[in-house]
């Protein structure tokens, strides 16, 4: 599948933002984060900026962005529509929770309720994002059971990295916040490893035989020539597929950036308790940046590695 930069940016940025909103909502409501105003301004500022820029970017690849509001109408059948509804609905409770924290420095009572409701909304939005891909049987790399967990846990992992970095910057670091990325990044690594494993071992349900109904046992079907001399929309949109030899080093790079570097750097006091606080904070910020870049590369691979069944009609190779 063609990796559109607007969609890569959207899913990475909104994942980060919703991951932060989930953790802020739950941990804030549980009183695990000090109700500090400056921290809240920075954390909610980053989360809302990431989510909003992401949603805005997602309209950039539309043919008619001015009609985007129509996408809220078909929530009964379409995961894309559900994502839009959930995304907009989540602004209300998370906004209320953020106001309470920033203005009154209050995260308990009714505000805690709003925080948890916002966390549920953010979780639902990321779930819908994952389901947009997981519900497409035409792309077996996406319609597998690791797609949705991957979107959820990567959102939480990037969100936790930024939350931990900001907590150190604003001196509200609670061990629950600084240790959190270790667990979530590890979980994300496990899910992505399982995803790639299932990708490599999945049997191919569709073949050129099922696509054309021709050939069969011992009777091969070979591509003879294309219907047209130049690439068409279908080939450009669905035909992009990265060569296997490039996919392997790119997967390694994505894992090193998204998981390896953050695991070592985000919570370096575990290994180096006497390290200078400024350095540890700097490294936590760096690991959040590197981790986010790694997730963007993972997202690029999510598209570039995915093979659409329509390519069975076009690819000279394959079966």
């Amino acid at each position: 599948m063609h990796p559109a930069y607007s969609v890569i940016f959207f899913t990475t940025a909104s994942g980060l933002g919703y991951g932060m909103l989930i953790l802020l909502g739950v941990m804030g409501a549980a009183g695990l984060i000090a109700a500090d105003r400056a921290f809240a301004v920075a954390a909610f500022g980053l989360a809302f900026t990431a989510v909003t820029l992401g949603l805005f970017a997602s309209t950039l690849h539309l043919g008619h962005p001015e009609r985007a509001w129509r996408a809220f109408s078909q929530w009964r059948s379409s995961w894309l529509s559900r994502e839009g509804v959930a995304a907009v609905a989540t602004y209300l409770p998370t906004g209320l929770f953020a106001l309470g924290w920033v203005i009154w420095q209050e995260t308990g009572g009714g505000f805690a309720l709003a925080g948890v409701a916002g966390a549920v909304g953010a979780l639902a939005t990321v779930y819908c994002t994952g389901m947009i891909y997981a519900s497409l049987p035409t792309i077996s790399a996406w319609s597998n059971r690791w797609t949705v967990p991957g979107y959820l846990v990567l959102a939480l992992a990037t969100g936790s990295l930024w939350l931990a970095a900001l907590a150190r910057l604003f001196d509200v670091a609670h061990p629950a916040i600084t240790h959190l990325p270790i667990g979530l990044v590890l979980a994300a690594w496990i899910v992505k490893a399982a995803y790639w494993r299932s990708l490599d071992n999945a049997p191919r349900a569709s073949t050129r035989q099922t696509a054309t109904g021709l050939g069969g046992e011992g009777v091969p079907v070979r591509f003879l020539f294309s219907p047209h001399s130049q690439d068409n929309f279908v080939m450009r949109e669905m035909g992009y597929r990265i060569a296997r030899k490039h996919a392997v080093p790119l997967r390694r790079t994505a894992q090193a950036l998204a998981f390896g570097v953050p695991l070592v750097l985000t919570d370096l006091d575990m290994f180096w308790p006497d390290g200078p606080a400024a350095l540890l904070t700097g490294l936590a910020v760096l690991s959040a940046c590197v981790g986010t870049a790694g997730v963007a590369l993972e997202r690029w691979l999510f598209f570039a590695e995915a093979r659409h069944v329509v390519t069975l009609y076009y690819e000279p190779r394959g079966q």
């Binding site: 054309t212 070979r222 591509f223």
Partner: protein, 246 residues
């Protein structure tokens, strides 16, 4: 609404005969010609006279080689929208622009509602939907709704443009929901099949497989009169027999 109708009154579609298709692309060209002035107009071309000409077509004719040696053959394979019973392209649509008509099962796009998100093209296994970059909306085969119900046309011409133009009579149009219709009986008689049934879209259009190749005919054989030709069939099967014996 992008929720699907529980059932459709008729199930209009095509039966495409891979045995007789000669790969002339007349169906694709006449489709382009008719629809460039029809409800989906324009079918935009980009760089039409340049080195990288591309554009919107609803019909594409592929070619495959099947088998090896004496039984090997070239099969021309026209590919267009199959007007599925369970079209995922419709249910994924976030705006309601894509819909399946309850009356006849035709899958259409309302271009005034389409936001051009292209998700429907991802959901279609058959590559039936082609995005118009100029208009910013998705376009697809309409089964020529502006021909098949067009009272200004002689009744014989009220078929999709691809069907009316096919010089090999490889394309047949009708109601596949009615088991007594000509197309249903043709599909039943010739073993019409679905493309990629594992995708679960339940396509309406059926493809007829190429007939087995006749081997050893070159030496003239024994003129013993053995064969189907002596027993004249009547009715529809006779029509099919005469049609394909020409």
């Amino acid at each position: 609404m992008t929720s699907l109708p529980k059932q459709t009154g008729r199930r209009l579609g095509l039966v495409i005969d891979l045995d007789t298709c000669v790969g002339c692309h007349a169906c694709a060209v006449n489709c382009k010609e008719w629809n460039s002035g029809g409800v989906s107009a324009p079918m935009t071309d980009e760089d039409p006279y340049g080195g990288d000409a591309t554009g919107v077509w609803f019909n594409r004719v592929h070619a495959f080689e099947v088998g090896d040696g004496a039984t090997g053959r070239t099969v021309h394979f026209p590919r267009s929208c199959l007007h599925c019973e369970e079209p995922a392209c419709v249910t994924v649509c976030p705006t309601g622009a894509s819909y399946k008509r309850e009356a006849d099962g035709i899958v259409l796009v309302d271009e005034d509602l389409c936001i051009g998100c292209k998700l429907c093209s991802w959901a279609c296994p058959y590559g039936a939907r082609e995005y118009d970059f100029d208009a910013g909306v998705m376009k697809k085969c309409t089964l020529c709704i502006d021909r098949i119900y067009n009272a200004n046309l002689p009744e014989a011409d009220r078929v999709p443009a691809c069907v009316s133009t096919c010089p090999a009579n490889a394309r047949h149009f009708g109601d596949l929901g009615d088991p007594e219709s000509d197309v249903s009986r043709l599909a039943a008689a010739r073993g019409g099949y679905d493309l990629m049934p594992e995708m679960g879209m339940k396509p309406t259009n059926k493809y007829l497989p190429p007939r087995p190749r006749t081997l050893g005919a070159a030496d003239g054989g024994e003129a013993d009169g053995a064969g189907d030709a002596t027993t004249a069939e009547s009715g529809f099967l006779g029509f099919i027999d005469r049609l394909y014996s020409r």
